[in-house]
């Protein structure tokens, strides 16, 4: 099958379609995902092709979506739930953190819950309140959940399939500000749960495993760790820094839980500097965790403290101010300069 140039949204649609085709136990559940195709059209056309029992328009109740998905998974289904917007996930927070995350553990491995929760997240689209948030660390902090986020259409297509194939619950954060970004997607790649669990996890067939980072751009002077929407910002920053003769390596984390410290540490040991960029607030964020781990592992190689660029400890601001809140190119370059100045 050919390589096609698709938007990230279309790549997700193609990936979901592939899982529906290859595994009859896969179900999509969510608000407005059927006839409408989802408010971002990620599930466009899928109900028409796979029917109302497999692409389910649910009542408008997030806890109910996740709670019933847990019951379906207990009988062998693989529900893929859509939470319409990041800020709407909280009614389901209890089901996700107290039930979904812990069932495998409390049953001592007798119950698998292969539930995927798709969450359009992040800002930059001029939305109203509660439509631009980045709550990923709230879930990364909960044992039992995997938390991943693709940055490119190619990764979106493969990672959604890997997430569905995973026997663990996966929070799948989709950078909604990048839904319309285009990239080449190899539609010849199919990941199924019917392969061994290891295949899906380790990425047999040359795929990057779901829980591993990838080096998005090699460099020698400084490492930027980013994920989701901030990967392309980091790549732009790397390009701009090149003009100042600073060689920036960009690591796309892809997975927030687990965190691929191995790839990151390998990079920082070479570059000696690390800047972490994410839209979520810096305070108690992914950057703090990375700073602690990188410092512990790279203490003698570091030329500068690990710096963080991200959202502030404020509620997500009004959209007219969001570009001051978000870690844009200028703030990332500012951090690169500060790190290089040590």
């Amino acid at each position: 099958m050919a390589v096609e140039r698709l938007t990230l949204s279309k790549a997700l649609n193609a990936g979901l379609r592939r899982t529906l085709e290859t595994d009859s136990k896969v179900l999509l559940m969510g608000e407005d995902i059927g006839r409408l195709g989802g408010v971002f059209r990620v599930t466009d056309g899928l109900q028409k092709d796979f029917g109302e029992d497999r692409v389910v328009d649910t009542p408008l109740a997030e806890s109910g979506i996740i709670g019933t998905a847990i019951g379906l998974a207990m009988r062998g289904y693989r529900p893929v739930c859509e939470i319409q917007f990041d800020g709407f996930i909280f009614p389901a927070f209890d089901q996700i953190t107290t039930q979904l995350a812990k069932m495998h553990y409390r049953s001592r491995g007798r119950i698998d819950l292969p539930v995927v929760i798709r969450v359009p997240y992040g800002g930059g689209i001029g939305a109203v309140e509660h439509h631009s948030e980045s709550p990923e660390v709230l879930f990364a902090h909960t044992a039992g959940l995997r938390v991943v986020t693709p940055a490119t259409p190619a990764d979106a297509f493969v990672m959604i399939q890997q997430a569905v194939a995973s026997p663990d619950p996966v929070l799948f954060f989709e950078p909604k500000g990048r839904y319309w970004d285009k990239g080449d997607v190899d539609l010849g790649i199919t990941v199924t749960a019917a392969g061994t669990a290891d295949d899906a996890a380790t990425g047999a067939g040359g795929l990057v495993p779901l829980d591993r980072a990838r080096v998005a751009r090699p460099g020698t002077d400084l490492t930027i760790a980013a994920y989701g929407a901030t990967v392309s910002t980091a790549l732009k920053a790397a390009q701009a820094a090149e003009a100042d003769s600073v060689s920036v390596e960009v690591v796309d984390l892809r997975s927030i839980s687990p965190l691929d410290t191995e790839t990151l540490v390998r990079s920082v040991r070479r570059t000696g500097r690390c800047v972490v960029v994410h839209e979520a607030p810096v305070f108690y964020g992914t950057g703090g965790e990375i700073a602690a781990r990188v410092t512990e592992e790279c203490f003698f190689e570091l030329e500068a403290p690990v710096l963080r660029v991200g959202g502030f400890h404020t509620p997500y601001p009004v959209s007219k101010l969001e570009h001051d809140y978000l870690p844009g190119l200028d703030r990332v370059l500012d951090a690169v300069e500060r790190a290089m100045a040590y």
Binding site: G67, T68, T98, P258
Partner: protein, 408 residues
């Protein structure tokens, strides 16, 4: 009690009076007409054994062998009556007080105590008994039950007309749980999906210290009307009526007729848990009133009146109950501390690098004590030589409560 909560607002199905007389009921009496004296003695035996287990567990908690216990005292009829209505292929989602249902599903009651002993978060294989693990967060599992019922629909196990094949789900919750969003969402999802699920509410009148009037101003069964869900209010201390309404509801579910809300009107004769003190919020007169409505007494009275409770049956049952109590006690007291390594097991179904790294760290940490000669340890061969690794602490080999209390 407000007028709207008055039980007379909704008919209460009753087939056995508190004094043990059978009542006729045009709809429900025929559903239990097939139960002969042996079957009634079977229900009686179930309830007696469950109560014996329950009281043994309470004693074990009082003696420090369990961290906590949630008694089902007084609710045996609602639980045994409904539990015995299930077909083998049906699946039950309990809250945390459904020991009577656990018994009817063939769960070893000793396993129910693993969680309360602090050695397991579950205790049995849910799929071996079609009985899900207890859920402590109020009402969460009603959604799991509804989802499981939606799976039965997709599996083609509803409305086929094959009695050995068609299946249903039942979920248990209390009067307090009806205020939870999840229970209301379960009612919505069950209704719009016509899901084969029976929502069985044991209204035991107290959510810890709060009376049902703090949860509702209409009878709980009547809530079903707003969701378009058939509903029935039954005397939960009447094992026959509880059995009959559940049989009907399960059959409706299996045949494709959708969900039913059952309100079993009963009473929590004991405390909420062994940590609770009901004397702070309810009267001795109220408790005495309900003692006269005891679910076991009324079936015994009926069997005696019918001359269907031979002395030798009662004697054998008493001996069986005593043996159960002794076995539960011995089994529970023999349960030691699980291996520390278990803490890291089954967090994920596939290896998670952070958990694996922390497990490896902790194993190294624990192993660092292994080569310390105990005679020289105090002299400081290891920087933490005075520390006893948790997995080697002899005090933890049994009686987890006292040990946990000390080390924490």
């Amino acid at each position: 009690m407000s007028k709207s909560e008055d039980r007379s607002d909704v008919d209460l199905v009753q087939l056995l009076t508190p004094t043990g007389e059978r009542l006729d009921h045009p709809e429900y009496a025929p559903l239990v007409a097939h139960l002969d004296a042996a079957a009634l003695r079977g229900l009686y035996r179930d309830m007696v054994l469950v109560r014996r287990f329950d009281s043994e567990a309470t004693s074990l908690q009082r003696q420090g062998e369990l961290g906590l216990w949630a008694q089902c005292l007084g609710q045996e009829a609602a639980q045994v009556g409904s539990g015995r209505a299930l077909a083998p292929q049906d699946f039950a989602f309990p809250s945390y007080r459904e020991h009577g249902v656990a018994h009817t599903r063939g769960v070893d009651l000793a396993d129910v105590l693993l969680q309360f002993r602090g050695v397991d978060h579950g205790g049995w294989d849910p799929n071996a008994h079609n009985f899900q693990l207890y859920t402590l967060v109020i009402g969460s599992h009603t959604l799991h039950a509804t989802g499981y019922a939606m799976a039965l629909q997709r599996d083609g196990l509803v409305g086929t007309g094959d009695a050995a094949r068609d299946a249903a789900v039942i979920t248990y919750f209390g009067d307090g749980a009806t205020s939870q969003g999840d229970v209301n969402e379960a009612l919505v999802f069950a209704a719009v999906n016509n899901a084969p699920v029976v929502l069985f509410c044991q209204n035991n009148q107290w959510a810890i210290s709060e009376p049902t009037t703090r949860q509702t101003r209409v009878p709980i069964a009547a809530r079903g009307d707003g969701f378009g869900i058939p509903n029935v209010r039954v005397d939960g201390n009447d094992v026959l009526a509880s059995h009959a309404v559940t049989l009907e509801a399960l059959e409706r579910a299996r045949s494709g007729g959708g969900p039913t809300l059952i309100e079993a009107y009963t009473y929590r004769m004991g405390a909420h848990t062994t940590s609770d003190d009901p004397t702070r919020y309810r009267s001795a007169a109220e408790e005495e009133h309900w003692r006269r409505l005891d679910p076991i007494d009324r079936l015994r009275a009926h069997l005696v009146a019918e001359s269907e409770l031979p002395d030798d049956f009662q004697a054998e049952l008493d001996a069986e109950a005593a043996a159960l109590g002794a076995r539960i006690r011995a089994t529970v007291r023999a349960l030691g501390k699980p291996p520390t390594s278990r803490m890291f097991e089954h967090v994920y179904a596939t290896p998670h690098t952070i958990v694996e790294a922390e497990r490896a760290f902790f194993e190294r940490y624990e192993a660092s004590f292994a080569d310390s000669d105990p005679t020289t340890a105090a002299a400081g061969t290891h920087p933490h030589a005075t520390h006893t690794p948790a997995s080697q602490d002899p005090a933890m080999s049994h009686a987890p409560q006292s040990a946990a209390g000390r080390s924490l």
